[in-house]
């Protein structure tokens, strides 16, 4: 059997197409890497995999059949972690899933399963944090706008939450690390890509872009944040544990502008 490195376009469908190819051609896969990233292996041959919807769908269906609902979600979420080498870990789990008669996605004594579970938990935590810490600012064209910079690619999995919550207002959440955003236009959500002006900032309310009253609501919120604190119980260690410093940039209550 020849050793191969598979290169794919970085999408989940692309990854599933790799799995299909690996099984169909009985490949000995030593690495699966997204395009643009260099492979580590010196002595194996590289194959470019073109994403094919139908193949991806077949793997997806088969996986769904052999895993619990949560187990399947964990696989998807772990993929969104973009952790280096996550593809091979997932491949390992998928092979284990397909090779077993019983449902094994809850076999926490299997190292790869446990690894995927932990990574998925981290992604889930980041998802939850984005749902919590995103702060919308109302723009002059009446869009509630937020900039995020999440550790993992969570935009696809926070979509549902924001759509069901903010059904009657236009909103846009933009991931500046991955350079794409999610826009809701009162009917549908769509992925958008754009150049953002430098001085728009992650917090504050530059009047060139934001509605006149916006800064006042940030100030009111900060006032609330300060007033609801019980000074005789201050516990900064616990505070920082709950709101790690790298998230402070999103929060208007921590913003120097408000």
């Amino acid at each position: 059997m020849k050793e191969v490195v598979l290169k794919y376009d970085g999408s989940f469908k692309g990854f599933l197409t790799c799995i299909f190819q690996a099984y169909e051609q009985k490949l000995k896969v030593v690495e699966i890497v997204p395009a643009g990233e260099d492979q580590q292996q010196l002595f194996s041959q590289t194959e470019e995999v073109t994403t094919e919807e139908l193949k991806a769908l077949r793997v997806l269906k088969a996986l769904q059949k052999k895993t619990s609902k949560n187990g399947f979600t964990r696989i998807k979420w772990a993929f969104l972690s973009e952790a280096p080498g996550i593809e091979m870990k997932l491949y390992e789990v998928i092979k284990y899933v397909f090779a077993s008669k019983q449902e094994v996605d809850k076999d926490y004594s299997h190292p790869a399963v446990l690894y995927i579970t932990d990574i998925a938990k981290q992604v889930g935590r980041e998802k939850h944090r984005m749902e919590a810490f995103v702060r919308f600012r109302l723009t002059r064209d009446d869009i509630y706008f937020a900039i995020i910079e999440p550790d993992f690619n969570v935009l696809p999995i926070i979509l549902k939450h924001f759509r069901s919550r903010y059904a009657d207002q236009k909103w846009l959440i933009y991931d500046i690390r991955r350079k794409f955003g999610l826009y809701y236009n009162l009917q549908d959500t769509e992925y958008v890509s754009m150049e953002l002006p430098e001085d728009m900032g992650i917090s504050g309310a530059n009047p060139e872009y934001f509605e006149e009253g916006e800064i006042y609501f940030q100030k009111l919120w900060k006032e609330y944040f300060d007033s609801t604190n019980i000074k005789s119980r201050v516990n900064m260690r616990l505070h920082v544990q709950h709101v790690p410093k790298r998230y402070w940039k999103y929060l208007s209550e921590k913003s120097p502008f408000a």
């Binding site: 076999d107 926490y108 446990l114 919590a132 702060r135 939450h161 009657d168 019980i230 000074k231 005789s232």
Partner: protein, 419 residues
């Protein structure tokens, strides 16, 4: 909107509301079906945390801090010389909506000092909730305070707009209440609880027959007790708590370490420490009672009236019941696994799932994430057994304390700190 005026009111009325520790926004089933604003069908979200480490999930304010009562433990008591303010109904509605749209909050927690009469106050609270639901199409979370002494009719109406209702009992015993709030009546607290409980049951039954029955307080009711204001034992507090869970189907009972707010001789003086460690141990006990299958009488009883401060209540119980251990992790039933110190709900579930595939060893267990510094003395697994049978409970406790670090260590140390 006059921002400066609103800001001042917000500062006064948020400050007065902060001693109510509940900020939970979970447990409701209100979906956004009308293309309106908000959805509270998922789990609760903490949008921020105060510097004292508590979750900020709701806009928690009083409608007013004018009050006709003079309860010694309360910062808004009539005789206290503080700034007073009152929100207009529309101001609370606007503030809630503007904050919600910016994703600052999950909803509103509205309480109030009692002005004029209980009914008059309750009626105002309901007006805010009704406006939010009917005029603003708001499906976010609303927690309303049930005002002791409000009429049954108003309590029924409140539940139609609110997700959660609560009355704070504040003082765990009747005698304590008599001492600190002589113009309040124990029965006045129980009556709204009873009413809400009965309405919830009735609406639930009706909704089984008629699908379009409106929701009534879908997130149930909760209450709060102040800890350390009067001389109650942990047993008194937790027995009251167990009573509320059972009798009124409470979703939550909160414990709030007393923060001194007055120089009243009946109370701990200003500047005395807030009993935060004790509060923490009470919450742990509460969890053991609600999720780990413990009967409160196992944890606290006549012979054991106060919780250990230096170790958690589960470990404390296990040390008093050594004859039930060690537990074989590969065979024991889930309810017994839940009783092992250092194993929580999540680890217990993982153990139950994982052991279907192979016998678990120490390696598996530590990777699953149990706190083995405590757990290892109480279990056997597929690895070699620990030889600890002859160690007395007191010695075992010392071994465990020596090999673990507690964030509360400094509060426990008998030595005086010099700085």
């Amino acid at each position: 909107m006059d921002f400066d005026r609103i800001k001042e009111k917000l500062s006064i009325l948020a400050d007065a509301a902060k001693y109510d520790v509940s900020c939970s926004s979970s447990g409701s089933k209100r979906k956004n079906t009308n293309k309106g604003l908000g959805d509270s069908s998922g789990m609760g979200i903490c949008h921020s945390f105060t510097q004292d480490g508590r979750c900020i999930s709701l806009l928690k304010i009083l409608l007013t801090n004018h009050c006709i009562f003079d309860c010694a433990y309360c910062v808004t008591r009539k005789s206290n010389d503080i700034k007073r303010a009152a929100f207009k109904v529309q101001e609370v509605v606007d503030l809630t909506i503007s904050f919600y749209r910016r994703n600052y909050i999950e909803g509103l927690f509205l309480s109030s000092g009692i002005f004029k009469s209980p009914d008059h106050t309750m009626e105002r609270l309901i007006r805010v909730a009704k406006k939010l639901r009917e005029e603003e199409n708001f499906n976010g979370y609303i927690h309303l305070k049930s005002i002791p002494g409000a009429s049954d009719e108003l309590m029924r109406e409140a539940g139609l707009y609110a997700d959660r209702l609560s009355v704070n009992i504040e003082i765990p015993t009747k005698s304590g209440l008599k001492l600190l709030a002589p113009d309040k009546n124990h029965e006045d607290f129980m009556k709204p609880m009873e009413k809400v409980k009965n309405e919830i049951i009735q609406y639930k039954q009706e909704s089984k027959l008629i699908k379009s029955t409106p929701k009534y307080a879908p997130a149930g009711q909760s209450t709060q007790m102040i800890v350390g204001a009067t001389g109650e034992s942990d047993r008194d507090i937790m027995y009251s708590s167990a009573f509320f869970y059972k009798k009124y189907n409470m979703k939550r009972v909160y414990y709030s370490g007393y923060v001194p707010v007055s120089n009243d001789p009946r109370l701990p003086s200003l500047g005395s420490a807030v009993p935060m460690l004790r509060e923490n141990r009470l919450y742990q006990t509460d969890w053991l009672m609600r999720f780990y299958g413990f009967d409160i009488r196992e944890l606290l009883n006549n012979d054991f009236q106060f919780l250990d401060m230096d170790i958690d209540p589960k470990l404390s119980w296990a040390l008093r019941n050594r004859h039930l251990f060690p537990v074989d992790i590969n065979r024991a039933e889930k309810q017994m696994i839940l009783r092992i110190p250092g194993i929580g709900l999540k680890s217990a579930n993982k153990i139950i799932q994982a052991r279907k595939f192979r016998k678990l060893t120490w390696g598996h267990l530590s990777r699953i994430g149990i706190a083995s510094n405590r757990a290892k003395y109480f279990i056997t697994c597929a690895s070699r057994e620990m030889e600890l049978k002859d160690i007395s409970s007191e010695d075992l406790k010392q071994i465990i304390l020596k090999n673990s670090t507690s964030k509360f260590r400094k509060d426990l140390s008998p030595q005086l700190s010099l700085f």
